[in-house]
Symmetry: C2
Subunit: 335 residues, 2 copies
DNA sequence: TTGTATGCGTTATCAT
DNA sequence: ATGATAACGCATACAA
């Protein structure tokens, strides 16, 4: 069933070396022989065995991928579309590396080495799970998504976080809002830190009152948004607007507001983050900071491809612009 | 950096054969040597090279995966959680096989062979893209998700389709509805055919009027649901309820109904299919046929694992039960 | 231009 | 119980 290079060589009446040269577009083969071999390859539908090739070359035409939050990562399904596009361009297959809990001596680097992956994608926001230090030192080309680790062979890519939040604050400010609340995701995550910084800076720049009571630390979930809003509602002098670090948080805020009889946007303005499909269909449609998931995925693979082929290039740190999509959840401050 | 079996052998003062035996839990090694070798392996964080192992064994501890609709498949991100769980149990990594368009002579089987995958998952509803016949004949253990291909080494897994729709029709019938419309997905897809059959049978059993004007063929998208509902609204004697083959279709129906000033569920009852996250948050919350995505994913991998290890077992055909989740989009027929 | 031979890291066969 | 050695399919240095 499975042909190999010997079968092709025999069928074409040449040596395996010649076949190998043809496969890899190497010189020193006469045009006539080349054509003949190519014909046989096509006839037999021959594809060289990646495994063998990987063994001898130490390469595998494979990008490994780790997810720190598992495949449940909320944007995975979006980013992955971009990954796929760039994967097609570059000819890599994507290997999802499953971290079996084989005791504490599991090594992410060993897993990569064992699989001979040419590059690695690390994806997510929970940095405490894996030992990334060893990854940084391994010399394996690595791109982090939504984490800012860097090393001689490691870069990262993330959406614009600081400026995005600043833009949101300014927008609310233009709508006369002064009491602007902020519901963060995990504060120990890179994006959480960045977005909080954006909020802090913007409030400062605009000389708006920075009230710790207006700041809540969530976990990107709807439930955390709901809980945070409930707390805000207890305040005697509550916020007139809320910036949320995820659309799911915003969804929880919307729900809590509705329960309290507050009208969005008349009584309360809400801004989300991410621009997931659902944000179009909330009641009212959510004004949100739209991430460019497609570009995020595409650039991740393309960068990895460049790092693999140009070992001397410094690894990139890429910030992908976002876009404040204005829909119906914000209005002029009622006060 | 990367240790190999020779390094371990040297460090433990034994031959590579012995090390190999220890790694693979083979007999004919004294307890003392075994312990010593194991210690060295742990110390060095050694993982045997999958590539080399794959070459000699023709296996790779890898499951290949093709997506006929690309990674944009609407439930991919849900099913994948189940895949991951079972992957962890069984110790496989998951290789996403990207179909580069390398001309018409691209062969899905050759791709699998070239990668030495132990089994293959084929996922989606567009059967025309790939040549599955060759896959069925290849002898590579294969599981289809949402397609009913079978072969000596190929089985499939899908949600209950016929009975699910029947249940929905009966539910609407209990609510006194007679004029029940049906918006299908692609009719050339397996699930489309099945669901339509369920509708047809249920209408027949309950002796309800089967009106071709109440049947629309969509493509699972929101837009197709919107368009279909617009058509229903033109009818002089339109339906009082609609069963949709996806939640996205239902979303389009909801939108068209709202535009027409119809109240759901008072004027129109709507049932979706899938039970995606968004269905909880529509206005009103959508009554829908909930697919058990987790089980779908888990069973797919577990079945593959069994097929790989028991070549003589007939490949399974698995139907996963669904669950009609009753929320707020259906009411007693107003007429 | 073409072909022979070696090795990549591992498992498996067959000694010892 | 242990070890030497031949595969696995391919790329490549080297020889012809």
């Amino acid at each position: 069933m499975a042909k190999n290079i010997h079968d092709i060589a025999k069928a074409a009446g040449v040596s395996i070396t010649t076949v190998s040269k043809v496969i890899n577009n190497r010189p020193h083969v006469s045009p006539k022989t080349r054509a003949r071999v190519q014909q046989v390859i096509r006839d037999e539908q021959f594809i060289p065995n990646h495994t063998a090739r990987g063994l001898v070359q130490g390469k595998s035409k494979t990008i490994g991928m780790f997810l720190t939050t598992g495949l449940t990562h909320p944007f995975f399904s979006r980013v992955v579309v971009g990954l796929e596009k760039a994967l097609k361009e570059t000819g890599y297959d994507l290997l999802y590396l499953v971290q079996f809990d084989m005791g504490s001596d599991y090594s992410i680097v060993q897993h990569c080495l064992s699989r001979n992956v040419d590059g690695v994608l690390i994806f997510g926001f929970q940095s405490h799970d894996l030992n990334f230090e060893e990854m940084l030192q391994s010399g394996i080309p690595t791109i982090f998504i939504d984490m800012d680790f860097t090393g001689p062979r490691a870069g990262y890519i993330t959406s614009e976080n600081i400026d995005s939040i600043k833009t949101a604050v300014r927008y609310l400010h233009q709508l006369q809002h002064q009491r602007i609340a902020f519901i963060n995701g995990h504060l120990d995550s890179y994006v959480g830190k960045q977005r909080f910084e954006g909020y802090r800076l913007a409030m400062q720049e605009l000389e708006l009152p920075y009230d710790p009571g207006y700041i809540s630390i969530g976990d990107f979930s709807k439930e955390s948004g709901y809980a945070a809003m409930k707390e805000f509602l207890k305040l005697s002098n509550g916020p007139t607007s809320v910036i949320c670090c995820s659309d799911m948080i915003a969804l929880g805020v919307l729900e809590a507001a509705a329960e309290a009889g507050l009208s969005v946007p008349d009584d309360l303005s809400v801004i989300g983050f991410d621009g997931i499909e659902m944000s179009k269909h909330t009641q009212p449609a959510l004004t949100t900071i739209q991430q460019d998931f497609l570009t995020l995925g595409e650039q991740a693979i393309r960068s990895l491809n460049e790092m693999i082929h140009s070992p001397n290039l410094p690894p990139p740190s890429i910030i992908v612009p976002t876009n404040l999509v204005i829909r119906d959840s914000c209005a002029v401050c009622p006060l």
